[in-house]
Amino acid sequence: MIAYLIRRILWAGVLFLAVTVVTYVIFFIVPADPARLVAGKGAGPDEIARARHFLGLDQPVYVQYGRFLWRLVGHQSLGHSFTNRLDVNGVVASAAPVTASLVVGGAIVWMLIALPIGIFSALRPRSLLDRAGMVFVLIGISAHPVWIGLIFSWLFGFKLGWTPIANYCDFFNPSTECGGPVQWAYHLILPWLTFAILFAALYARMIRANVTETLNEDYVRTARAKGAPEWRVLTSHVLRNAMLPVVTMLGMDIGLALGGAIFTESIYGLPGLGRWAAQSLDTFDLPILQGIVVFATLCIIGFNLLVDLLYAWIDPRIRLA
């Protein structure tokens, strides 16, 4: 187990280097000049050159990357923004809780939607409930989150006035206008739903398929032959096995979902990592972008590690292998 963990962590380091190198390379392939943007519209060649030197952009790419790495490892610093000199650590620290609230809450919402639909569809195949569930799945997969977001905020926020349609409230430190768990959740209801629908649809279909398959397993028949009631057969024998692949997917998708968060954050004006990433792409603000990539990579690696450990806990065959 220890050797396994060490191996996993070393691989995580390799993965981390690879991802940051790729981000750097892509950034420098894009034909744009951040120095020109920083120096402003009316700047002459001298000022642009000065800005370029100040930002370190006159160095070769590998030197810049080396500096970035050194700053990160030596000083745990992600550097400063090109455009407004903001401390990137600060930006990530303020944006990460927003995205985490959205993604984790969204994941809970999508599982809460997907589990009942998937399980009951599998238990009653071809029933009305199954067909209704699969129609939901089709809509959920086909509809773009931006469209869903706009429809939701128009319907629930504007027309019905049930929920706020923008802004984020801190879970802790209530400020004057809003804050605290209730306001936090209230403001996140629509973002959560918007964010969750696509995944809820995908997961409902996956859970339905897994449960259907597991219901046909021999050991489920054995459990029934023992005289176990259906509810017990379902919870103790079917779900534990059917959930194995779902747990894996969940770990991977929560990482992927960070990307999906861009849309939701933009629609609802949430100051999360996604919105920062989108903005910094517009202004070629490499440090911020790189900071978010670094953070996201760490999160994904962490989630995958967590999933592997969780998996070993659920499935004894892996634990001992």
């Binding site: 032959a225 534990r240 001992l320």
Partner: protein, 340 residues
Amino acid sequence: MALLDVRDLRTHFRTDDGIVRAVDGVSFSVEKGKTLGIVGESGCGKSVTCLTIMGLNARRNTITSGEALFKGEDLLGMSRSRLREIRGNDIAMIFQDPMTSLNPVHSIGKQLLEAVLLHQDVTKKQARARALELLKAVGIPRAERRIDDYPHQFSGGMRQRVMIAMALVNNPDLLIADEPTTALDVTTQAQILSLMNTLQDEFGSAIIMITHDLGVVAETADEVVVMYAAEIVEQGSVDQLFHRPQHPYTWGLLGSLPRLDADVERLVQIPGQPPSLLNPPQGCRFNPRCPYVMSICRTERPPLAPVSDEPGHVDACHLDEATKDREGEKLLAGMLAEAS
């Protein structure tokens, strides 16, 4: 009264292609403490018969009729909760493939405990003691340590022993074994069969042994039912069936027994395929494959008729008894000659 009395059991499945008559009017009974062998090719309905008795067929698209009286109670007509009380407690079942019949995510101890706790009002500790006792009885070495192991840590033969332990843990009156040795290698097969024989003496359970292997029947059964295409074609005691086989299909099964002691180039096989149960042949269902086929066989279904001088021995064939006796003897003599 017989322990289990099955009367005119029919199980039909509705499919997109039509109705599959998987079991079509089967009657037999099992006496207390005795073993009934049900023999037949794959797809002849022997497993479905037992799954129907246990109420384990999917309810969707299944039409069941007839009766299965267990100690006088009809298993087919009773409430699901009453049936659950009986399953695993009075009637237990073991299955063909021990590799897939145990839940991979629970330790075998947990699965055995579940079987006990579902039916007995005992503490976990007592249940565990009972589980351990059974694991020892079925010959799991170092049972105290292995009880917390998971199914994948056992070999196929050991898993089948665990399945048997789990089936017997509540002292059932009837054990249904659906090809319990088919997935095992030959030496393990012999071990499992002799284990089942020993345990039957010890626990006094009646057994329904489903198999396609007449060798298994000869070793374990008291009574035998031969099934072909969802129907019974011959039925009698083991002695009767092996000494005076009456039905051409039974002859076919006997003739196709592989023999280690005879130098044969090829195994004798019954020509052709078992018929589709969507649309079984007119008359005798064995007629397209029967070497003795007569014109009446193609039009008229032979009823199960008693064999003279042998109480309890019945068969369904249009051949006259003299011919059947002669051909049966010829086959047995041939087998004996090969053996010597």
